[in-house]
Amino acid sequence: MKCADEFRSREITAPLVEEIANSLRRPVRIMEVCGTHTMSIFRHGIRSLLPEGITLLSGPGCPVCVTPASHIDAFLAAADLPQVTIATFGDLIRVPGAERSLAGARASGARVEIVYSPMDALTLAQLEPERTVLFPAIGFETTAPTIAATILAAERLGLTNFLIIAAGKTMPHALEALMADPELRVDGLLCPGHVSAIIGSEAYRPLADRHHLACAVAGFEPADILSGLLSLIRQINEGRPGVDNCYTRVVTAEGNSRAQHLISEVFAPADSEWRGLGTIPGSGLVLREQYRRFDGMEQLAIPVQPVRELKGCRCGEILKGRLLPPDCPLYGTACTPLQPIGPCMVSNEGTCAAYFRYSGRKTSTARQEPKPLSVS
């Protein structure tokens, strides 16, 4: 992490902070799209260094947060089948569906394993041929290529006990839908570094042109984020919004064509339900016809779950940047990281969880998770 250290040193960041303060001419509202940006901003205390005129809004870029309860309920329906093992990314297991989470299902006897990549889920399927391993395939363009590669590997291996529930989403359509909302007043977008590595910085050009929106692609270290913010403020000042790639060590204009090809080989675009944002046309990824035998919904005959929003939860408006977490009546009282109601509270990357964790809302440590990791 030596290279990351350079982007975290005060020698590099202090001049950027100063330049931002000197450049700001009017109050601006900037949305950081990616959950990892939200995390990093909190983790490094970046808000505390910025002038008051900059309002940072957290966008819909946490894949766990935007996964609707109906998808979680589908994962739970699969988990309840005796022959099924759910192999999932860790931060999905506490996300509440209509009534339960995968953690709750595990406590009641379902087999739920945490994996670090979809390939691990595939390995599990090979090790346990008598069981069906289902991978809840959530995520954006960042995770989609590895999931696609896993499907192709399963195809090559002729595995019949590996399934996914395709719940992936793509970013540009969602941003387009978001920016079309007249109530959303955003001057600039801090565009997601990871997603951009796949789709390329030029993917935001139509958005910038159509909505007269400043866009800056940024990495996740403090110097990256500060450079992105400075670029946005300069674009706003000059009245010439465009797309500035501030993450050239990772992101190119066209993106990663091999990864893009993998995604389009396995997945086709489809309308998709986003938690809090509703259905966005063309923003989801479903398995193409020739890979439908890996479709868990179809193979396990899981009925499509009804779309239900959580009572009192304002995650939708928080994801749109209309409200801040403390504006939600459930925040910090009924909804805490220990007992999350809304998706924004569940993942570390969720706006509410990040607010709660880093901005001083007190919590009780009395209640424990059903099965804490055994480290001692």
Binding site: K2, R10, D91, Y116, Y358, L373
Partner: protein, 338 residues
């Protein structure tokens, strides 16, 4: 007894198989006379001072990990709990709950490890118990150790004693145990020098208190929940605020890299051989040097200060000069998706 055999329910029955297990395995490694007597309890003798008493159960998964195993961890953990109140550990108990079918060879490895750890620490296992539960009713092996120690009247070390102006010292690098276990559980081989820091701290604490004239106010080992959660407990119990500085925190580069990779915050990962020392600022430099002279504390660092405050807030001054609050850990640390 054959080493390729497995533990059966008979081994916990109290009958002949139990006796064979005790004499053929436990007493082969654990040689304290009080234990060998096989009485219902051990008699410890007479001591002047305040008796410290602590218990802890160990359910670590996996049972064997780089740097240690459940046996050494169970010895060190309870010794450290006693040491954190300034007590000198006198004796330990060892209770095992074994799942039917558990490998005899693994059990032997673990008991040998308990024996080595207890001998190296100079704290004997003086009494014990073994139960075997049917297959599926436990996860291989659970261990409990209970410890008795002796604290002098000279010291009153407590989580409630942090005072404004005090210095915060950590006795070594952070997150080594937590990242080791989590990478084992994830099946990721991180390589490098990543291993658990499990070690006893009673000698370090003994040296600290021998020299001490009431300068040490709080000792606490940041186990589950890590440094952040433990500092929150201290701040809340003492009714003070604590500010730590990110660039003073000792974290091995390999651990830091692994945490970045898996998406975990090292401030929330467990340590099993480190202690937080909160002491009077006047003695802080001397105490730091003393700790650094001990093998257990060679990477010790002064990481922050105690401030006046009512809410028990702990904050971190980040490397870039920002400030963020450290909250207690909620739930379990989960790796992130991207």
């Amino acid at each position: 007894m054959k080493t390729d055999s497995i533990i059966s329910l008979d081994h916990g029955s109290g009958g002949l198989a139990s006796q064979n297990l005790i004499s053929g395995l436990f007493l082969k490694y654990l040689t304290c006379p009080q234990l060998r007597d096989l009485e219902d309890c051990a008699m410890l003798g007479e001591y002047a001072g305040r008796i410290a008493f602590s218990t802890d159960s160990y359910v670590v998964d996996p049972l064997f990990f780089p740097g240690g195993d459940i046996g050494s961890l169970a010895v060190h953990g309870t010794i450290n709990d006693l040491a954190m109140r300034g007590a000198r550990p006198l004796a330990l108990s060892l209770a095992l709950i074994i799942e039917e079918g558990f490998s005899f060879a693994s059990l032997e490895r673990i008991i040998a490890s308990v024996a080595r750890a207890s001998e190296a620490a100079g704290v004997a296992i003086v009494t014990g118990d073994t139960k075997v539960v049917p297959k599926g009713k436990a996860d291989g092996l659970f261990v409990n150790t209970t410890g008795i120690g002796l604290a002098s009247h000279r010291h009153d070390i407590s989580v409630k004693k942090a005072q404004p102006g005090d210095a915060v010292i950590i006795s070594g690098t952070l997150a080594d145990h937590g990242i080791t276990i989590m990478s084992c559980q994830a099946g990721i081989d991180l390589g490098g020098d990543i291993e658990s820091d499990t070690q006893p701290l009673h000698r370090l604490v003994g040296a600290l208190l021998e020299e001490d004239a009431g300068l040490v106010h709080v000792l606490r080992d940041p186990t589950r929940g890590g440094l952040a959660t433990t500092l929150c407990e201290i701040a809340q119990s003492s009714g003070v605020d604590i500010v730590v500085e990110e660039d003073r925190l000792p974290i091995r580069p390999s651990v830091s890299t692994a945490c970045e990779m898996i998406g975990l915050d090292p401030l929330y990962l467990a340590n099993e051989g480190k202690c937080i020392i909160i002491c009077d600022q006047d003695g802080a430099e001397d105490i730091l040097q003393l700790v650094r002279r001990m093998p257990e504390g060679r990477d010790a660092a002064l990481i922050g200060w105690v401030h006046e405050g009512q809410d028990g807030r702990v904050s971190l001054t980040t490397r870039i000069g920002g400030s963020r609050l450290l909250e207690p850990l909620t739930g379990q640390p989960l790796p992130r998706i991207c």
